[in-house]
Amino acid sequence: MKLKNILMAVVAMTSLMVASGAVQANEHGVALKHAEIDVTDQEQLRRGLTVFTDVCMGCHSAKYITYKGLMDYPELSLSREAVDELRGEHPLTAGLITDLSPEDAKVSYGKVPPDLSVIANARRGGPDYIYSVLTGFEHDPAGKVPDGNFNEYFPGNRIAMPDPLGWLDHDEADTAELEAQAQDVAAFLAFIADPHQNERRIIGCWVLGFLVVLTLVLYLLKKSVWSDVKH
């Protein structure tokens, strides 16, 4: 009877937790596209880094990720040579900071592009949102917003960032390549938003494994201590 109650509570709590994870998808009405990402996949993360440094870093920074971090995080583990090539004159301990000054950005785009270090946590849908926005540039059906500033997935649809991957009017043959680029950079941004996440999940498996055993042992111990109590 009591065990049944505990089991019911466990089931209820677990379903609540699962539900809370599923709810997050999207809140602006448009369903986001699902990004195929794997934050443990070194190849994908490195490809994403290349998209980030070649395209995004023209305007955006990721100041919490240092050049040294690109070597140190096992998920990336770039060679010293590769990092030296990327950083040029910047010191190893510098963050990935764009050469575009905030003042110039304001003149060109009307606002300062946000830092992307934690962007995957700072937007509902995370990597799915990033992927959707990068491949969401369309012609405005109402014809009001100029080309390159209309985005299906951006809240309010009017985005200051002009189509970075050249999605609008791209050749049919390039679709797969552009989608792959958007997913790779979404994976990279999801990784740098919380760079210890893979380590965290691995440790978490050991912790939960230990706790399952501990719970079982304590349950049996409790039963044996209580065996002389009559109800």
Partner: protein, 405 residues
């Protein structure tokens, strides 16, 4: 094991100077507890565990955290940078910070369960009125500590949440404006606010620790209530706390840790419920987020606040909704404690729990006219529950209460 330890010469030496043996006997090995407590009675020890975890992780976080709203590159601040530094560069900083952030929510989960248990089984009724009142003080200090703590990462929700809540004080007559400026340390939420909130966020848990000591002491004077809600006497249906309830609490701790560690390691933001998405955006006083909502554990009271057109009325109602908890032992005039023998109260209190959940849902969601109406109905019932209690014995036919467990 405990008996063995108590027979050593070292223990005898300590006992001579502290009276440790008498304390251990009166508080643990000979402290009498009803034998029929169910698992709802585990949440008290869990609350103590989470408080300890919060204080310990908090001490380590404070070694690295910097309470400064000075701007840094990219629209961030020294405070935000220091949190990210903890997450990235401090050894196991991510673990300590997620434990602390998830711990805040876990603390409210266990404390709300603890309060619900007290209400359902009538644990607030005589002779435990003062025990209940100390508990309500703990709840208020906890809510304050959580509110101060949420400002510290200096994200958008930190900033705007603090702005909205400190604004409330401005609505109070005469002293309101003064109080608001005192809390903020200026005319708007800014660097001085962050510094005083950090100071208070460190102070409040220490107050909590002291008052929790008082709560436990008060409990040990009047002893635990039980699911039957009847008085028990030593030798009749009681067992010593140790070893029976130490092992039962330990088992409860293990079950709790399973859930807690699952969230810490696999879902620390809990889909935006434990750490809100907008709080990863650095605070910006020129840009209001589309939807400002406090963290889930404060949303029921936020709905009560929003249910009134007049800001002053809303603030007063919110204050009253918490203050009325103090009066619960005196509003309830029934002689019977447990809901098991009070059919009408049982329905009322279950509906009350549902109401609080509904209030929480309304406060968390973006406001719509429907939700506003639902919130107003729920607010009405919230107060009606308390105000009906004094009249309940007039028409409630209680069932026969057994005279022993």
């Amino acid at each position: 094991m405990l008996e063995k330890m108590m027979k050593t010469r070292l223990f005898a030496w300590i006992d001579e100077r502290t009276g440790a043996e008498a304390i251990i006997k009166s508080q643990l090995t000979e402290y009498q507890v009803p034998k029929n407590l169910n698992y709802m009675w585990n949440f008290g020890s869990l609350a103590l565990l989470v408080l300890t975890l919060q204080i310990l992780t908090g001490i380590f976080l404070a070694m690295y955290y910097k309470p400064s709203a000075a701007l840094t590159y990219g629209g961030y601040t020294v405070a935000f940078d220091s949190v990210e530094r903890i997450m990235r560069d401090v050894n196991f900083g991510w673990l300590i910070r997620y434990m602390h952030a998830v711990g805040a929510s876990a603390f409210f989960v266990v404390v709300y369960m603890h309060i619900a248990r007290g209400m359902y089984y009538g644990s607030y009724k005589g002779p435990r009125e003062l025990l209940w009142i100390i508990g309500v003080v703990i709840l208020l200090i906890m809510q304050g500590a959580a509110f101060f703590g949420y400002l510290l990462p200096w994200g958008q929700m930190s900033f705007w949440g603090a702005t909205v809540i400190t604004n409330l004080f401005g609505a109070l007559p005469v002293l309101g404006e003064y109080l608001q400026q005192l809390l903020r340390g200026g005319f708007a939420v800014g660097d001085p606010t962050l510094n005083r909130f950090f100071s208070l966020h460190y102070l409040f848990p220490l107050l909590l620790a002291a008052i929790v000591g008082g709560h436990i002491h008060a409990l040990h004077v009047v002893h635990s209530n039980n699911p039957e809600g009847i008085d028990v006497h030593e030798g009749q249906g009681t067992i010593p706390f140790h070893p029976y309830y130490t092992i039962k609490d330990a088992f409860g701790v293990a079950v709790f840790l399973l859930f807690y560690c699952y969230v810490v390691f696999f879902n620390p933001q809990m889909g935006g419920y434990f750490i809100e998405v907008d709080n990863y955006v650095p605070a910006n006083n020129l840009q209001t987020p589309a939807h400002i909502a406090p963290v889930w554990y404060l949303t029921p009271w936020y709905t009560i606040l929003r249910s009134f057109e007049s800001k002053l009325l809303g603030v007063l109602a919110m204050g009253a909704s918490l203050a009325i908890l103090f009066l619960l032992p005196f509003l309830d005039r029934s002689k019977v404690r447990s809901s098991r023998y009070r059919p009408v109260y049982r329905q009322m209190v279950i509906l009350f729990f549902i109401t609080v959940i509904v209030l929480g849902y309304c406060g968390h969601s973006a406001p719509t006219p429907t939700l506003k109406l639902v919130g107003q109905i729920a607010t009405t019932y919230y107060f009606a529950f308390f105000l009906l209690l004094p009249f309940l014995p007039k028409f409630e036919k209680t069932k026969n209460v057994p005279d022993h467990i």
